[in-house]
């Protein structure tokens, strides 16, 4: 069978810095008609540049220096620009990662789709309108006839990505390139969009080149998979072969670094890949992964490996699989190490808290380190002539939770549900509108600024974006010392249970850096010299500097690649067991929750809908929202096709939440009563509660 797309030896260079960056270097792949081909890789490995090279839409600094890209019989790289334009949008379409930015903000949706029809089918007027409507219905835009004349900003993120897909479909392409199409979307929306893409492909028979960093998304969508590393493909296989036995050491590491329930149950540390992705401006002699590979030997550093066949269509670029060069019989663990762990499923409870370390005893009355009751954070909406307050955005609307010493509570929810605001409200970085936050029995809400300042050493914060969480103008040592100076801890022998402080402040900075796995001499450097993961380590060291007992982690790994995420999660776990830290772990990533949390609280539109111990909630979700959320998370599971509970529509606005249960407009089990009153708590065990009318309501909390 002839491939639809055949790329040979493609090399793309970016001329941005002093030395040219070989973003794509000798890439070869083929995509068959009607198949989904997933190109997997971490950020910066060149997968997006590959896609843009195929479309010949490289940024100005980019340049294709060699290779060929054939679709059918035509080599796209030899076509004149005018002919290439006939290919773009017609034979190959593309959708991008950020649907918010990828649509023209001042043109209506119908105009933007109609443009494709006019360009490639010479369709205009009523015929075009009709076709636009047809396509929009196809991608599942409700009320398309009316909404087609609206502007992109009037649609939600998921809807915008549907628009992008509609635009791509309008040309009836043979190949659709989807560059991280769901990375910017929430899980439930991601499930909708992936479903849509799968359905469209089955009906239309077009091929999809799916570019993703998410192994699970690839497992759910792809027929064949290729793994990219440092500008080249290192492994290519069918979905079944790849997910049942990844061959390249890099692929194996990727699997092993995925957090999840199984890893936690076995008490395994996540496999982190040491070091960093090499700079693509340098020249490579041997295998590009050799420096970070556990199996590397001299040959790997000297000669770049060629393609070796593992089985059938499963090929890998690694010396281990070359019978002639391999030093020994294949490593027994290779290819099998991780798999049972991934595929194996639930049952069996785990003893939570068995590893709870000794914590500094507390003579306080409260059994919890932190207890929050009825926390509300409202933001006023100013409207009308005089900008009077007409309503409130109820970002956090009555959240109650508790965290014990040395425990981890995960606060889970989709974007916009108020989880970050809740974290900041708890730390008094945003003044709460109502409710109480007790830390060690002390009420923080309304505490005067001076006393609160003294307390701040007790609870700290780690942020999501490692790039904006460190001041680029300050050295690491200044960054870490800032908190110590402000709270006058460290160096002067104040209470600190995080290592020796005899050597003074500078000595303490060294100790801190070592405890987060950075060499002490890095303290004289500036943040821009560090990678994302290293910056996150610095941010952790900064928080630890004042010896807190509670750390609010606000999506600390969501901006990081999986292998780096594994490093940070390992570090956080280690610190917890050695220092007895309690974490409030805010995240949208269920597999991280499974790995790190003791308890979990699920938030929807400013309220907690279900909470309990992690195995209770994740294994036996009771609230329909939790159930839908969990079912929407893609998993690497080749055997069974789990049913996905589809949620309709998007998260409503917290300024105007639906009456009664906030979830009822999207709930598959909604009953009349759901529209009227917010449900009371239903308890399933002493720790597991949910708020839903499906279960018997507790009477006492009226």
């Amino acid at each position: 069978m002839n491939p639809l797309l055949q790329i040979d030896n493609l090399a793309t260079v970016l001329h941005t810095g002093a030395a040219p960056v070989w973003a794509v270097d000798g890439l070869t792949l083929q995509i068959l008609k009607g198949e989904t081909f997933a190109l997997l890789g971490e950020s910066g490995c060149g997968k997006s540049m590959t896609a843009l090279s195929i479309m010949r839409l490289l940024p100005e600094a980019g340049e294709i220096v060699s290779g060929s890209v054939r679709i059918g019989e035509e080599d796209l790289l030899l076509l004149p620009e005018a002919a290439m334009r006939n290919v773009r949008g017609r034979r190959i379409s593309m959708i991008f990662q950020e649907p918010m930015l990828s649509l023209n903000p001042v043109m209506t949706v119908a105009d933007q789709i109609g443009e494709v029809l006019r360009r490639h089918f010479n369709l205009s007027g009523a015929a075009a309108q009709e076709r636009v409507l047809e396509i929009l219905n196809q991608v599942g835009i409700p009320d398309a006839a009316r909404r087609m004349n609206e502007y992109p900003f009037q649609f939600s993120g998921g809807m915008k990505q549907r628009m992008m897909i509609a635009m791509a479909l309008a040309g009836e392409p043979e190949l659709l390139i989807a560059d991280e199409p769901t990375t910017a979307l929430d899980v439930t929306i991601q499930a909708q969009v992936l479903d849509l893409m799968r359905g469209l492909q089955q009906r239309g028979g077009m091929a999809i080149l799916l570019i993703t960093h998410d192994l699970a998304v690839a497992a759910e969508m792809a027929h064949r998979v290729a793994v990219m590393y440092a500008g080249e493909i290192v492994e290519t296989a069918t979905r079944e072969n790849f997910f049942s036995g990844p061959a390249h050491p890099y692929s194996q590491k990727l699997f092993a670094s995925l957090p999840g329930k199984a890893m936690r149950k076995q008490g395994l540390r996540l496999a982190a890949i040491g070091g960093n992705v090499p700079a693509l401006s340098r020249e490579f002699v041997g295998c590009r992964f050799a420096d970070r590979c556990d199996h590397a030997w001299e040959l790997c550093h000297e000669i770049a490996p060629r393609w070796n066949v593992v089985a059938g269509g499963h090929q890998v670029r690694c010396h281990l699989f070359n019978k002639d060069t391999s030093p020994s019989v294949q490593d027994p663990e290779l290819g099998s190490q991780r798999l049972e762990a991934t595929v194996a499923d639930s049952e069996g409870s785990m003893k939570s808290g068995s590893r709870t370390p000794l914590t500094s005893e507390s003579g306080d009355s409260s059994p919890y380190l932190l207890s929050v009751t009825g926390l509300k954070v409202y933001f006023p909406i100013h409207k009308g002539l005089m900008k009077s307050i007409t309503g409130y955005v109820k970002a956090v609307d009555g959240v109650s939770l508790t965290i014990g010493q040395g425990k981890t509570l995960a606060l889970v929810g989709e974007s916009g549900c108020g989880k970050t605001t809740a974290g900041k409200g708890i730390l008094q970085l945003i003044p709460p509108s109502a409710g109480s936050v007790r830390y060690n029995g002390l009420e923080l809400v309304g505490m005067e600024r001076k006393r609160l300042r003294k307390m701040r050493a007790e609870f700290q914060l780690i942020f999501q974006d490692p790039y904006s969480s460190l001041n680029p103008r300050m050295r690491i040592v200044d960054i870490i010392e800032e908190g110590m100076d402000a709270l006058s801890v460290g160096g002067r022998g104040e209470a600190s249970h995080a290592g020796p402080h005899s050597a003074g402040k500078k000595g303490r900075v060294d100790t801190l850096l070592e405890s987060v796995g950075l060499p002490p001499e890095t303290k004289w450097r500036y943040p821009h010299e560090f990678s994302g993961g290293q910056r996150q380590r610095v941010a952790i060291a900064r928080a630890l500097a004042v010896s807190p007992r509670l750390i609010v982690c606000d999506e600390p790994t969501s901006a990081l690649d999986v292998s780096v995420q594994a490093q940070i999660l390992n570090l956080l776990k280690d610190l917890q067991s050695s220092l007895g830290l309690a974490y409030l772990f805010i995240t949208h990533n269920i597999s991280v929750v499974e790995y790190i949390a003791d308890e979990v609280a699920v938030m929807y539109l400013g309220r907690i809908v279900e909470q309990g111990r992690v195995e209770e909630v994740l294994d036996h979700p009771r609230h329909p929202y939790t159930q839908a959320l969990l079912s929407a998370v893609p998993v690497i599971d080749l055997a069974s096709k789990r049913p996905i509970i589809h949620l309709h529509g998007d998260l409503p606005s917290p300024a105007n939440p639906p009456s009664g249960c906030h979830f009822h407009p999207r709930c598959p089990h909604a009953m009349p009563i759901c529209r009227e009153r917010y449900p009371e708590t239903s308890a399933f065990s002493s720790t597991h509660t949910a708020r839903c009318y499906l279960y018997p309501q507790e009477q006492d909390s009226a």
Partner: protein
């Protein structure tokens, strides 16, 4: 949306009051009317009688804010502040030193000012956008590079040079149009050609370069890549997608200037002898006619504020995100 506009209009009121207070402070508090009188009458040989007479003629012989000598509300109205500053809200600007009514003078001089400023504005907008688009279309080629160099060079030349050079070359050497002056009706046209051309050229460097930056910034956005991915040609991408988005900052930046066109241009008008508000102001500055300068300051900020309101309205017209929210 209506609310939004009404709110902007209401917001203009405190600003106008602020401007009024600033001008009052500047003209009557920093220097007393006596100082001004002495300045105008000549420092050396001034007599107290002359000063009193000067102040009486202009109505500056009253207290600044509060008049003890009279009764009732007149305590506040028979003051310099009320008669000179508050009265400006009713467009009562008083009389100039030559005895003419300033409001009337402004009315008759607006038209000649507009006759130069409006063509310069419209032609300029068109020409600058055209050249900026050309440079962006040929970006990263020598057309673009030398275009930018030319812009920087044009920016570095004093506007006075454009006027003097233009007058010298076109009027004096080639005798194509009269060197200065103004006529009525269509006769004015031949006097206007040169100032308009020079006005457009002297603004070319900075504006073209600025528009080019705006266009380039838009070119870097993701939706442009989407448009190219549809297979649209580069000119279609430029005209249908980039131009429309770039017009939002360009138009709104330009709209604020429209009311100010009535004020004309100080320098061009005085060089070309056009009887507009610009030359009126210059003459007033040179003869130290404080009343006229004060009136022009107030008028200028009034027009600017109208421009701001128009800008807000124009936002709602060109940007659906503002219109529909």
């Amino acid at each position: 949306m209506l609310n939004y506009i009404i709110r902007r209009v209401l917001y203009a009121i405190p600003i106008l009051i602020g401007v009024n207070l600033i001008t009052f402070t500047l003209f009557f508090v920093v220097n007393s009317p006596d100082d001004m009188a002495r300045m105008q009458l000549g420092i050396k040989r001034v007599t107290p009688e002359a000063i009193t007479k000067w102040k009486q003629e202009r109505g500056y012989d009253k207290p600044l804010m509060f008049n003890d000598a009279v009764e009732g509300t007149e305590k506040f109205t028979r003051t310099i502040f009320f008669e000179k500053s508050v009265a400006m809200f009713a467009f009562d600007f008083g009389r100039a030193d030559d005895g003419r009514d300033i409001a009337h003078e402004i009315k008759t001089r607006m038209l000649p000012s507009l006759a130069i400023a409006l063509p310069v504005f419209l032609l300029g907008l068109f020409v600058y956008i055209f050249f900026a688009l050309t440079m962006v279309f040929f970006r990263a080629t020598y057309v673009d590079f030398w275009g930018v160099v030319l812009c920087v060079a044009l920016m570095s030349i004093s506007s006075l040079f454009y006027i003097i050079g233009g007058q010298f070359l076109i009027s004096k050497m080639w005798h194509l149009v009269p060197i200065s002056g103004y006529g009525s009706g269509w006769n004015a046209a031949k006097f206007l050609v040169l100032p308009v051309i020079i006005g457009v050229i002297s603004g070319a460097g900075a504006s073209t370069r600025w528009y080019r930056t705006i266009f380039l910034e838009e070119m870097g956005k993701d939706y442009v890549r989407t448009a190219r991915a549809k297979g649209l040609s580069e000119s279609l991408v430029l005209f249908r997608h980039v131009l429309r988005n770039a017009m939002i900052p360009i138009l709104t930046g330009a709209v604020v200037l429209i009311p100010l066109l009535f004020l004309g241009s100080l320098i061009a008008e005085s060089f070309f002898g056009i009887p507009g508000l610009g030359s009126y102001t210059i003459d007033a500055i040179n003869s130290q006619d404080f009343a006229v300068v004060r009136a022009m300051v107030f008028l200028g900020s009034l027009l600017y504020i109208i421009g701001l309101i128009l800008t807000d309205i124009s936002y709602t017209l060109v940007d659906p995100r503002v219109r529909l929210e």
